[in-house]
């Protein structure tokens, strides 16, 4: 039974952006619930506008719904005003397409994109009337599953989920769902079903493993179910050209964060920047053929009416023959009626040349991510671009008529010294001075500095998060550096938010009760500065007796079991060790401070 339409209309009349909750967008898929074998909901634990910009949602929605026996609807985290009204009118969280309560579906799949959306997962379960912990749920409750980047360390969420899908799910998910449908039809209970599923690659059933601690230090996981694997191998798509891809994606009424068509050029990245989780977990590099890129783009434009298409990847200019491809786009979409954009540009002349080719019309600003301002630190993180490259690329861009730049940096990187931080405003100052001299005009430069968070399955996974007071001190250095340089648009990330992100990125199952407590205290949308309350989180840690600093600030040892050791991302631990060694070697060689490095 769908939720009461009268009450819903009343609620929609009161909330901000009611179009978030309509569910009848163009290309949305509405199926008869009586005609399918398994009803699933894709749950995105953030606002509609954020979720609808997520390509994973569109890919899975398409791949599941293309099977006539399966159904997938969407549900997003309700905004605060909507949550209040749902609770006031005692209305359950509902899936958008059918407006059926999410709790009545067979399975809910959460997209776990970042740690700071975890309290929304808890909130969405609660709004659906579903018991939070998997061991409190019975046969009638939906299966709760999770996927996405956070599944590379799913431990802090383990007690809430029935299983996780590790890796890329578009090919395997319809098969898994069909299998669940047929096993359920045979009357198999949830416990047996999970045993059956756990034998498949990429499926992690957390309740089959129990963590062992010794004096508060994690010693590893003890397997409780003999048929479950020792380590869970990620799933990935071998051939992008053959994998399902949405050519008629749902288009929102309201503007979303990325409101455009997206075609993936390739998945994975050969660069191996040491801080970048995606660079390791999406290996190997798989390319979509030119023919497929062009055909897919044409189909999406025809089915949506978008006027912009993004060619996405982790490092667009690494796509072979990109120039040829872009020329082809000009033929396929003549008159510049469909704009083409290339996110993730490297800071080199070739990238600038390509940006020049695809941008017709006004050239406002180009975005680059040097990440670090000294060559030494860039070598440490393996972002191998020289200062000469940077200046050359920027010069080409200015010559081509670009009016400004957006530059992304990080602080808190391993081996970072004050001088590396001071170098950020210094570099920006030199860039601007150089162009003022050359061009006789000032460039608009906006600088965004985020705080590095060490992530699982990267060479920096053993490294601690830089403590909050140190981050704040380095941000002061930046503020001081930029303060005598008017005209710079400088922004930075809140240090406490990054600290919390680090806790959950590196943590284990002991953090689950903290999450529940924080949610009880009102934490939601922790990634949004207007909602984030560090005081509530502090209270949550205090109430549950967990010290967040142990999780964020500890340096793991090489031989110490890591919370995510049982998740196999396809890259051997030795490679991470050797990359970590190399990074520290560079630091020592380049005379980076004392060079002491012990693990």
């Amino acid at each position: 039974m769908p939720v009461d339409e009268c009450i819903l209309n009343k609620i929609l009349g009161k909330v901000q952006k009611p179009a978030r909750y309509l569910g009848n967008e163009w290309n949305s898929c509405h199926k008869d619930h009586g005609q399918v074998k398994l009803k699933t909901a894709f749950a995105f634990p953030d606002l509609y506008e954020v979720g609808m910009s997520n390509q994973g949602l569109k890919i899975l929605y398409d791949s599941v719904n293309s099977n006539p026996e399966l159904l997938m609807e969407r549900v997003f985290a309700p905004a605060a005003d909507m949550e209040d009204l749902l609770r006031e009118y005692d209305m359950p969280l509902f899936a958008l397409e059918s407006r059926e309560a999410v709790g009545n579906f067979d399975l809910i799949g959460f997209s776990l994109q970042y740690e700071l959306s975890f309290t929304n997962v808890i909130n969405m379960l609660d709004l659906s009337g579903i018991p939070l912990y998997s061991d409190k749920r019975d046969e009638q409750d939906p299966l709760i599953i999770g996927g996405g980047p956070c599944v590379y360390n799913p431990e802090p969420l383990a007690p809430f989920f029935d299983f996780f899908v590790v890796g890329e799910a578009e090919e395997v998910l319809p098969d898994i769902l069909s299998e669940i449908a047929s096993l359920k039809a045979k009357g198999m209970n949830k416990g047996d079903l999970l045993v059956e599923l756990s034998t498949h690659d990429g499926i992690y059933v957390p309740s089959f493993y129990q963590p062992v601690y010794d004096y508060g230090i994690l010693q590893g996981l003890k397997k409780l179910e003999p048929r479950a694997p020792d380590s869970i191998k990620k799933r990935y798509v071998e051939d992008l050209d053959r994998a399902p891809y949405p050519t008629a994606p749902v288009i929102s009424y309201i503007e979303t964060i990325h409101d455009r068509a997206v075609v993936e050029l390739f998945r994975g990245c050969a660069r191996g920047c040491r801080f970048c989780q995606a660079g390791y977990t999406f290996r190997p590099v798989r390319r979509r053929s030119q023919e497929s890129v062009v055909n897919t783009a044409r189909q999406i434009i025809d089915a949506t009416g978008y006027d912009e298409i993004a060619l996405s990847s982790l490092s667009s200019t690494d796509y072979p023959d990109l120039e040829l491809l872009i020329n082809q786009f000009d033929t396929v979409f003549p008159n510049g009626r469909v704009k083409c954009s290339l996110p993730s540009l490297r800071l080199d002349s070739y990238s600038v040349k390509l940006a020049d080719q695809i941008h017709h019309g006004r050239r406002s600003s180009l975005t680059f991510a040097p990440e670090a301002a000294t060559e030494r630190l860039r070598k440490v993180i393996k972002k191998n671009i020289s200062e000469e490259d940077i200046f050359k690329a920027l010069e080409d861009a200015v010559k081509a008529g670009w009016q400004g730049f957006k530059l992304y940096f990080m602080i808190g990187l391993p081996t970072e010294k004050d001088e590396d931080v001071e170098a950020i405003p210094e570099l920006c100052r030199r860039i601007r001075k150089y162009f003022k001299k050359q061009e006789g005009r000032s460039l608009k430069i906006s600088v965004s500095v985020s705080t590095f968070v060490p992530k699982a399955h990267t060479p920096f996974q053993w490294e601690p998060q830089l403590p909050v007071d140190q981050v704040v001190r380095r941000q002061e250095i930046l503020k001081k550096g930029f303060s005598n340089m008017p005209g710079f648009d400088y922004s930075w990330h809140d240090a406490k938010t990054s600290m919390l992100e680090a806790v959950y990125a590196r943590g284990d199952r002991r953090l689950a009760p903290v999450l529940e407590r924080a949610w009880q205290l009102g934490c939601r949308f922790d990634g949004w500065s207007e909602h984030f309350s560090f005081d509530n989180w502090k209270k949550a840690f205090h109430d549950t007796g967990i010290d967040p600093e142990t999780f964020a600030y500890q340096q793991f040892k090489y031989d110490q079991p890591l919370p995510w050791d049982h998740i196999n991302c396809g890259v051997k631990k030795e490679i991470f060790v050797s990359e970590h060694h190399k990074a520290m070697q560079i630091d020592a060689e380049e005379g980076g401070a004392d060079g002491t490095f012990e693990l």
């Binding site: 009343k10 179009a19 009424y253 309201i254 503007e255 009416g305 019309g361």
Partner: protein, 237 residues
């Protein structure tokens, strides 16, 4: 260059999208339809589509108008046939006409809109009617109804919108429902929102209207011409 105007109805399923959402929806539908929409000249060309009067969020409508320019002749029949296939059921195209190039922009012609506000009575209908009707009478007897606005410098100014209420009438529709019809000045030369009238009526009575969500607004018709001689919009297109 061909200039076409068209009429459409908006049903409850699409009531909760904004004017900008509506424009995006129509533009994307036009692009999907493959119709040769014309673009403006200049550095940042934009498609030449306008709606006669923005439809407020939450409001349904029977007869709205828009106009569009095509770079090649299309004709009303082909236009209707191709665009209808690209529109959701809650947005119904009801007609299309060739519009003479010398006529002013459609949006400049609109001078009034007829709204029908349906109000669910939550107490005895007779008493509710009397109370609301006397609030309406005293509102109409006022010489000044001040609407708060912010000017470009974000300073609050006040505008007397009493002259913008051309006609207002309350009647008992059916069991538990009253209908308030409002003929209000609208368009580029100034106007007043039906929501403001509802707020004023609530302020002038003991009834809760705005806060309890027991009402909905429907826009029936658009008019052009001076107040004394208003004409429904499709006339003379």
């Amino acid at each position: 260059m061909e200039r076409l105007s068209f009429s459409f109805a908006r049903k409850p399923d699409l009531a909760y999208i904004s004017h900008l959402d509506m424009m995006r929806l129509l533009l994307r539908a036009l692009r999907r339809s493959g119709l040769p929409i014309a673009y403006s000249q200049g550095y940042n060309p934009h498609p030449r589509l306008t709606l006669a009067l923005p439809l407020p969020l939450g409001v349904t409508a029977s007869e709205e108008y828009g106009e569009v320019f095509f770079s090649e002749p299309v004709g009303p029949e082909i236009f209707l046939e191709k665009l209808r296939r690209q529109l959701p059921p809650a947005l119904e195209l009801t007609g299309a006409f060739i519009r003479k190039p010398e006529l002013p922009p459609l949006a400049a012609e609109v001078n009034a809109a007829l709204y029908r506000v349906f109000i669910e009575t939550y107490i005895n209908q007779g008493i509710f009617f009397q109370e609301l009707n006397s609030a309406l009478k005293s509102l109409l007897n006022k010489e000044e109804i001040l609407m708060e606005r912010k000017n470009k410098k974000k300073k609050v100014t006040y505008k007397n919108v009493r002259p913008y209420i051309f006609k207002a009438n309350l009647k008992e529709e059916e069991k538990n429902t009253l209908e308030l019809s409002l003929l209000l000045k609208a368009g580029s030369s100034g106007g007043v929102s039906p929501f403001l009238i509802i707020e004023e009526l609530q302020a002038g009575s003991t009834l809760k209207l705005a806060d309890n969500g027991l009402w909905r607004v429907h826009r029936q018709k658009l008019y052009k011409g001076p107040e004394e001689a208003l004409q429904p919009l499709p006339e003379g297109m």
